[in-house]
Symmetry: C2
Subunit: 457 residues, 2 copies
C-alpha cells in the first residue's frame, strides 16, 4: 500500500501538477527540426528537476542534449533508472488539430497537445511521484536517476553511444519506461515484449535498360516478375515465412500469458472495421490475432517499385525492381541470423538472367522482459493499486529501441508501465492524455517506488 | 522477273528518288506534338502522289489527317492497298544525335533522320515503284490505293473508326505494309505473325490507410505481399503462364517455319550481351528463344508500385499496391478469353482482407498471316529477286495494330515486307535507313506489283 502522506500529497497538488504539464507541453521540442524549442525545453526540465530535489544537469550528445538527474545518493539502496523522452513528433497536418498542438487545452477530462501522451505526460508523472516522496516524507524508497532523451522520435541515433560513454552513471538495479498504453480503457497494462526488426532492401537487376516487352517478352527475364515470385515464395500456403531457419529460435509465450491475452477485451471485427478491411488477414492463419501480432515474427513488404508506374500503359520489361522488406522479430530470433537466411533465400531463388542485390537498412533485437522480475512485479502491484483493476501483461508488435539498449547495455529488464490509452493519437492530430491517467499514473509511480524497494531490499 | 524498263527507270532515277526522301524527312511530323509539321507533310504527300499519277486527297479524322491516293481505276484488275505512316517518333534525346534529326544526312551508305526507316523511307519506296511502272510502261499491273496515316506512333487512335467509315474506299484484294526489318543483314524477311496484347492493371486494396507494420504486421493482410504472391503464382515452375485456359487456343508454328527459324543467323549469347544480361531468361525454359518470342504468349509486369518507395526505410503496411501487366498473345488466343481468365485467377487468389480491382487498359488480337496466300507468296518472290537472297518468313513478338485492323475489318492478309535493318534505331537517336535497301526495296516493290498481278489474275 502506498504511504498515505505521499498519496495525500499527490491529491493535494493535482492542479499544480497539471499546470506543470501544460508548461512542459508548450515547447515545440521536435528533434528533426533545426528551429525547434528543444534547448528551451531542456532548460525548463533541468530547473524542474532541481526544484523537486534532484541534482540535474545537461549531458551533451552529437545530437540533442540529454537531461540527467539523480536523487541525493543513499548508499546501500537500490537505484531506479527512469527513462523518458522530451522530443515530440512533428504536429503536421496542422489543420486537422481542433486546438493548437502547442497550446495545451483541457477538454472532456483530457489534455490535448503534441507530446501529451508521447511522452511528456508519461515521464512527468514519475517525476511528480519522486517529488511527492521527497516532499511528503523527506526521503525516497530507492535512489533515482532520470534520463530524458531528445531524439526518440527520430530513432534515438545518439542513445547507444551515450549509454556506452556513461555506463557508470546509468548503472542501476531497475528501470522504468512509460511510453506505451493501456490495452483498453480500464485495462492497466505492462508490456513484457517488443518485437525486433530486420529491414532490408532487395533489388533485382535485369536488362541494362528497359526493353520492349513485345520484342523481348519471353526471352529476357523480367525483374518485376522475378521479384514478385521471390516475395511470393517468402511465405508458404499457411502464411508462415519460408526463409531458412526463420522459426528456429522462437521462445513461445507462456501458458499464463496466452490465458491472459485470451481474457483481454479484443474484438477482431472492431479492429477490422477501424482499419477499413472486410476481415483481418496476414500472418499465420491458424493463430489468433494477438498471438500473431505479439508473439510471432512477420515479413512485410513496406514498399515496392519497378518499371512504368505513371498513368496509362507502357510495354516494357523493366531494367530493375526494388522492394523494401521488414521482418518483425520475436525473442530469441537474432537479426543477423535472420538476414543471413534472407540472403541465402534470395541467392537460391534468383533466376537465370537476373542479378540480385540485398542491402540491410537496420536491425533491432527483440525484447522479452520476464514477468517474474522484481521491477515488473512491483509495477504490476503498483498499477493494480492505483487503478483498482489488476494490471495485465501484454506485448507489443512494434519496437521501442531504448528498451533493448537498456536491456543489452545496462543489463536491466525495464518495467514498461503504459499510462496512455489506445485512442491517444500519439503520432496524429489531436494527441491527448487522460487527466485521470496522469494523476493515477503518478500514484502508481509513487507506489511502484515503494514496491520496488521492498522487492530489491 | 521484273520488267526491264521498270527496273531501268528505278536505276536511272535513283538520285532524284533519294532527294525526294530527303524532302519528306525534313518534316517534323510528330503526332503527339501540337506544334508539329504534320499539315506541311500531308500537303507535300498529296502533291507528290498527284505528280506520280495518282488521284490524291486528304481525308480528315478526329486526329491527324489521312492521305489517300488511287491509281486510275482499271476495271477487272485486282487492287493493292499500300499502307504507310507519315508520323514519326519524337526525336528526344536530341543531344544524342550525330546530326539534326530533321536535317537528313547521308553517311556510310545510310541516310540518317527521324523517320528514315520508320516509316517514311519504307512507304516511299512503294510509291516510287508505282511511279516507275506508270512512267516506264504507262500502266500498272494492279490497281493501287494508298493510305498514309499520321498517328501510328501514338497507337493509331483514329484508324479503326476511319476504316469503318471508309470500308468501300479501302476495299482491296491485297495489302502491303512495310514497317519492319530484315532479320539480319543479308536476310530479307517477311513477317508472318505479330503478337497480340492484353494490357491490364491490377490493384489490391488493404487497410484504408498505410498502417504501422510493427503494431499490425501479421494481423492485417499486406497488399504488396498479396500482389507479389499473386503475380508469382501467375507462372508455374517451368515458366508457363498459370492463368486458366491460357494455352487453350494456341496454333503452333508449322514444321517448315520452325526449320526456317532454326536456320536463321541467331546467337543467344550475342543477344544477351546486347541486353546487358549474363544469360537470356524468362518464358518457357524448354523452348528456344525465337520460338518463345514469336510463337508463345507471355505475361510480363511492366510496372509495379506500392507503399514507401523513397530512399531510406518506413515501417508500414501499405494501403494498396498496383501492377501493370501485359500479356502478349499469339494466334488463336482471344484477348477477351484471356482477360476473363485473368479476372478469374485474381478472384481465386485474392486472400482474406484484400480487395482486388482489375482494369483492362487495351487489347489487340494476334495476327497470323498464312504463308501460302498470294500477297505473301508474291512478296517472297519479289524480295528474293531484288536482294538476291531467298526471303525468309519470320515473326515478331511485338504488335503492329494496323495489320490486325486490315485483317479483321478489310479481310486482307497483308504482305509485311520489311526493308529496315535490326540496327536502324527506329525509336532512338541516329535513326537511319540503308540507301541500298531504299533502292532495292523500290525494285522489290515494283517486282511485287507484277508478281501479285500474276497470282491474283
Amino acid at each position: 500500500m502506498l504511504d498515505t502522506k505521499v498519496h495525500a500529497y499527490l491529491n493535494d497538488h493535482r492542479d499544480r501538477h497539471l499546470s506543470q504539464l501544460v508548461e512542459l507541453l508548450r515547447f515545440a521540442s521536435i528533434a528533426n527540426n533545426d528551429d525547434d524549442q528543444c534547448p528551451l525545453c531542456v532548460a525548463w526540465l533541468v530547473e524542474y528537476l532541481s526544484e523537486i530535489g534532484l541534482a540535474a544537469r545537461i549531458l551533451p550528445t552529437d545530437g540533442k542534449d540529454m537531461v540527467f538527474g539523480e536523487s541525493p545518493p543513499k548508499p546501500g539502496r537500490p537505484t531506479l533508472l527512469i527513462y523518458g523522452h522530451y522530443d515530440v513528433q512533428p504536429p503536421d497536418p496542422l489543420d486537422q488539430w481542433t486546438t493548437d498542438p502547442f497550446d495545451p487545452t483541457v477538454r472532456d477530462g483530457n489534455i490535448y497537445a503534441r507530446g501529451a501522451s508521447d511522452d511528456k505526460g508519461q515521464f512527468l508523472l514519475h517525476l511528480q511521484a519522486v517529488e511527492a516522496w521527497l516532499q511528503a516524507t523527506g526521503d525516497l524508497p530507492v535512489n533515482v536517476t532520470v534520463l530524458l532523451e531528445g531524439e526518440e522520435e527520430i530513432g534515438s541515433p545518439s542513445l547507444e553511444p551515450f549509454v556506452l560513454a556513461h555506463k557508470d552513471l546509468l548503472s542501476a538495479d531497475a528501470a522504468v519506461i512509460s511510453d506505451s498504453a493501456f490495452f483498453a480503457p480500464g485495462a492497466p497494462s505492462i508490456l513484457t515484449a517488443l518485437r525486433g526488426l530486420a529491414y532490408v532492401e532487395l533489388t533485382l537487376h535485369g536488362p541494362k535498360a528497359d526493353v520492349h516487352s513485345g520484342l523481348h517478352g519471353g526471352v529476357v527475364a523480367n525483374p518485376v516478375n522475378a521479384l514478385a515470385a521471390m516475395i511470393g515464395a517468402m511465405h508458404d500456403g499457411d502464411g508462415r515465412v519460408a526463409l531458412p531457419g526463420f522459426y528456429d529460435d522462437l521462445a513461445p509465450p507462456t501458458e499464463a500469458e496466452l490465458a491472459d491475452w485470451q481474457a483481454l477485451p479484443f474484438d477482431e471485427a472492431d479492429l477490422a472495421r477501424s482499419l477499413g478491411v472486410a476481415a483481418l488477414g496476414g500472418g499465420e492463419r491458424d493463430l489468433p490475432p494477438l498471438v500473431r501480432a505479439w508473439a510471432r515474427p512477420t515479413l512485410d513488404v513496406n514498399g515496392i517499385i519497378g518499371g512504368y508506374t505513371a498513368p496509362g500503359a507502357k510495354t516494357i520489361i523493366p531494367s530493375s525492381a526494388t522492394a523494401k522488406i521488414s521482418m518483425r522479430l520475436v525473442a530469441d530470433q537474432d537479426p543477423q541470423t535472420i538476414t543471413d537466411g534472407f540472403r541465402q533465400f534470395v541467392h537460391k531463388h534468383t533466376p537465370v538472367g537476373i542479378r540480385a542485390e540485398v542491402d540491410i537498412h537496420s536491425t533491432a533485437r527483440p525484447v522479452l522482459v520476464p514477468t517474474d522480475g522484481p521491477a515488473v512485479q512491483a509495477a504490476q502491484a503498483a498499477m493494480t493499486e492505483a487503478f483498482g483493476r489488476k494490471a495485465v501483461f501484454i506485448r507489443c508488435g512494434a519496437s521501442v529501441p531504448v528498451t533493448e539498449v537498456v536491456q543489452r547495455m545496462l543489463g536491466l529488464d525495464a518495467a514498461l508501465m503504459g499510462f496512455g490509452l489506445p485512442d491517444d493519437n500519439p503520432h496524429s492530430p489531436d494527441e491527448k492524455f487522460s487527466l485521470e491517467h496522469f494523476h493515477k499514473g503518478a500514484i502508481a509511480s509513487a507506489a511502484f517506488l515503494g514496491e520496488l524497494a521492498q522487492r530489491l531490499r
